[in-house]
């Protein structure tokens, strides 16, 4: 890319040769004005391309393909790869990589994750209500790519409208099933979802493919469909803008690269006194120090929390060993011990308590009556142990 170059929507602006990565496309049409480092959601500075939007919304040449189901799995996979599709639940793992399991790990189930990965977020919910058949099509493409005959859509049972819509959309498909799930955090975590739907236990330290399952987010399925059907690259996504600190919360279809500030303004701006702006959900999202952060492919929500809504991890008490965190931990760990050991500096010993199986969902910290920053202690241990 060069400064001054004209781009159209969907033009490839970032390419990659590495296996576990995906290309990036221009989300607006206009002129490249800068190549610089910009902050991402985690607060890290990463390379970015700044495009001055000329407002023309010109699309690059898209290859429409109504007969996409006739393509071979390899061709479909190529399209997904070229569209730069990544896991849109937040992890942004390149989808085509997930669709290329090693031979010794045969896949027999594909699950579409319609269980919202965190509280507050409703983006997946909206998508399922608004474009159920596209999602089902996306699932069918995924099943074809993987050569799988069984597909599920997992939805928490507090979203009856989404369940109804998805059931209706999949009514003609014998091998697609809509699974109603119990509402609990983190139901949207891959391993929990697989357990709930297929009753398979992903081994500790393992991946879903170890038990023959591939999980994809609702948004990902939609993007897969759009890429295969219309050749559309991933340049926009649905973002939930919510929290007591924003005037009119809602789900927005936002271009990748839109500054958070603009989305908040679209939703009526701040309400009373916002204390925290979080990209992602309240449990695992990242608090922002600037609103210039752009929406990325994995930005599922923008949460503006008011003073009374959020909690700062300030003063905390001693562990009273109530065991709430042990009951809450979806991985069956003992967060109390992890936090105690870490607090006292026994970082190596935390491995004995399966530190590395923790995926930092934050549930333990949420339930702790002593307000201990358990997840933070876990992260500290993780960064200090010898792996």
């Amino acid at each position: 890319m060069q400064i001054g170059q004209e781009v159209k929507k969907g033009d490839l602006i970032g390419e990659t040769t590495a296996f576990v990565s995906a290309p990036v496309h221009a989300s607006v049409s206009g002129k490249v004005v800068a190549l610089m480092d910009a902050p991402n959601a985690m607060g890290k500075m990463v390379p970015a391309v700044v495009i001055d939007n000329n407002g023309k919304e010109e699309w690059t040449q898209l290859r429409d393909n109504p007969d996409y189901m006739k393509l071979t799995p390899e061709e479909l996979k190529g399209k997904i790869k070229d569209a730069g599709i990544v896991g849109m639940g937040g992890a942004t793992f390149p989808t085509h990589v997930k669709l290329s399991p090693p031979k010794e790990k045969p896949i027999d189930v594909v699950i579409i994750n319609g269980a919202e990965c965190e509280p507050y977020l409703t983006a997946d919910h909206r998508m399922m209500v608004e474009s159920p058949s596209d999602i089902i099509e996306g699932l069918k493409i995924l099943m074809k790519v993987l050569g799988v005959s069984k597909g599920y859509v997992g939805i928490e049972n507090n979203k009856p409208d989404a369940i109804a819509k998805m059931k209706e959309a999949s009514s003609g498909e014998a091998n697609i099933e809509v699974a109603e799930l119990e509402v609990k955090y983190p139901q949207g975590a891959e391993k929990m979802l697989i357990k709930a739907i297929t009753d398979r236990n992903v081994p500790a330290g393992g991946l879903p493919m170890d038990v023959g399952v591939v999980v994809q987010n609702v948004g990902t399925a939609l993007a897969v469909f759009e890429a295969c059907r219309y050749g559309k690259p991933l340049i926009e996504r649905v973002v939930t803008v919510t929290g007591l600190g924003v005037k009119t919360p809602g789900n927005l279809r936002a271009r990748v690269g839109t500054p958070v500030k603009e989305l908040i303004e679209t939703c009526g701006g701040f309400n009373n006194s916002p204390a925290k702006v979080i990209l992602g959900g309240p449990m695992m999202g990242f608090a922002q120090y600037t609103l210039d952060v752009p929406v990325a492919k994995g930005t599922s929500g923008i949460l503006v929390m008011s003073e009374e809504e959020h909690s700062t991890s300030g003063k905390f008490g001693p562990c009273i060993k109530c065991g709430n965190c042990i009951d809450a931990c979806p991985m069956g760990l003992m967060p109390s011990m992890l936090s105690l050991l870490s607090e006292k500096g026994f970082y190596e010993e935390t491995k004995e308590y399966n530190l590395l199986d923790c995926f930092e969902c934050g549930t333990c910290t949420y339930v702790c009556p002593s307000k201990r920053p358990i997840v933070q202690f876990v992260r500290l241990s993780k960064s200090l142990i010898k792996r």
Partner: protein, 336 residues
């Protein structure tokens, strides 16, 4: 709308950004509340002395907590309710006949030595209230085994003293108890209501069960410890409790008497000193039950709940260490 202006004030912390509204002090005060029915029954049966003894315990507990925290330069945490709860539990574990120095000294031992010297809330190995009581029992064995008759409570200073049902059982056997209480039915009824000699808060089984049920309903305790504890006691009492041979014991009598219900629902379930894992809690409960029956039937003391729980407290860390909760994904592998 000056969105940009707000930026400076944004708070940046790490996730998670929300917490539930449970706090340690709320837990402590709720548990204290759940002891209220039993305490009311204690006052009803043992009169103003019950209030006097318990109040001294609570005052002693508060003072000890304040003193140690002041001396060690720590933050004063009287309002978290843990000192209050310890004082209340200790008071309910003392006989209403206790002279003034017993509540004061034993609450000092409970809070200052057992809890604060070990690092304060969360770091004590033993249940503070029970250590306070054990200290008192060993130090003043006579005063601690002098029980007022429940009916004589309001009469005044010349209250009649009597023995607890378990002491009678140990001395005279089943016949003697039935002789005193009339028949089996009235024995059970008296025990259930709490019309018997004993520590001032341990007698009324009904009131204690109400409190225990409240705690289970509020999810502050689970069934694991109380049920495994009580079931073990009942089973062992039935098998070994009788003098005529195996399987002739009276489990109901053993369940309803002594400090068992108080111990199983309120003392053994103390967060800090019991195991945190569910399997561990069941093992803990069974251990408590076995030791209780062992002491009741074979040792010198008529009642064994206190020492049983204290002994099992030692094992809590060990149990937790070996009963780590099953890590997701590892469970299946281990079975295969």
């Amino acid at each position: 709308m000056a969105v940009a202006k707000k930026e400076q004030e944004l708070i940046v912390t790490v996730s998670p950004h929300i917490r539930n509204d449970e706090t340690v002090s709320r837990i402590m005060w709720t548990v204290s509340l759940s002891l209220l029915p039993a305490f009311v029954f204690g006052v009803y049966f043992f009169g103003p002395r019950a209030v006097y003894v318990t109040a001294l315990c609570i005052v002693g507990a508060f003072f000890s907590e304040w003193l140690v925290q002041k001396m060690t330069g720590k933050e004063i945490t009287l309002n978290d309710g843990s000192a209050f709860l310890t004082g209340l539990l200790l008071g309910m574990n003392l006989p209403s006949s206790a002279p003034f120095y017993i509540p004061l000294v034993s609450s000092f031992v409970a809070v200052a030595i057992t809890k604060q010297l070990f690092g304060g809330l969360g770091y004590n190995i033993f249940n503070p209230a029970l250590i306070g009581r054990a200290f008192a029992l060993i130090t003043w064995p006579r005063a601690m085994t002098t029980w007022f008759e429940p009916t004589a409570a309001f009469v005044g200073l010349d209250a009649k003293t009597t023995a607890t049902p378990l002491a009678i059982l140990k001395e005279g056997g089943m016949q003697k108890i039935i002789e005193i209480f009339g028949d089996k039915m009235s024995l059970y009824t008296d025990l259930l209501i709490g019309h018997r000699a004993g520590s001032l808060g341990e007698t009324s089984v009904i009131a204690l069960l109400i409190g225990g049920a409240f705690l289970i309903y509020k999810k502050y305790i689970t069934w694991h410890i109380p049920i495994s504890f009580l079931a073990t006691v009942a089973l062992m009492a039935w098998i070994f409790g009788g003098r005529e041979g195996f399987f002739t014991g009276d489990p109901v009598l053993h369940l309803l008497s002594g400090g068992l219900i108080l111990g199983a629902f309120f003392m053994a379930t103390d967060y800090v000193t019991c195991p945190s894992t569910r399997t561990g809690q069941i093992i803990f409960g069974i251990g408590c039950g076995l030791l209780t029956i062992l002491i009741r039937l074979k040792a010198g003391y008529p009642e064994g709940v206190m020492f049983a729980i204290l002994l099992m407290n030692c094992f809590s860390p060990l149990i937790d260490r070996n009963m780590k909760s099953k890590v997701f994904g590892l469970a299946k592998e281990a079975q295969q």
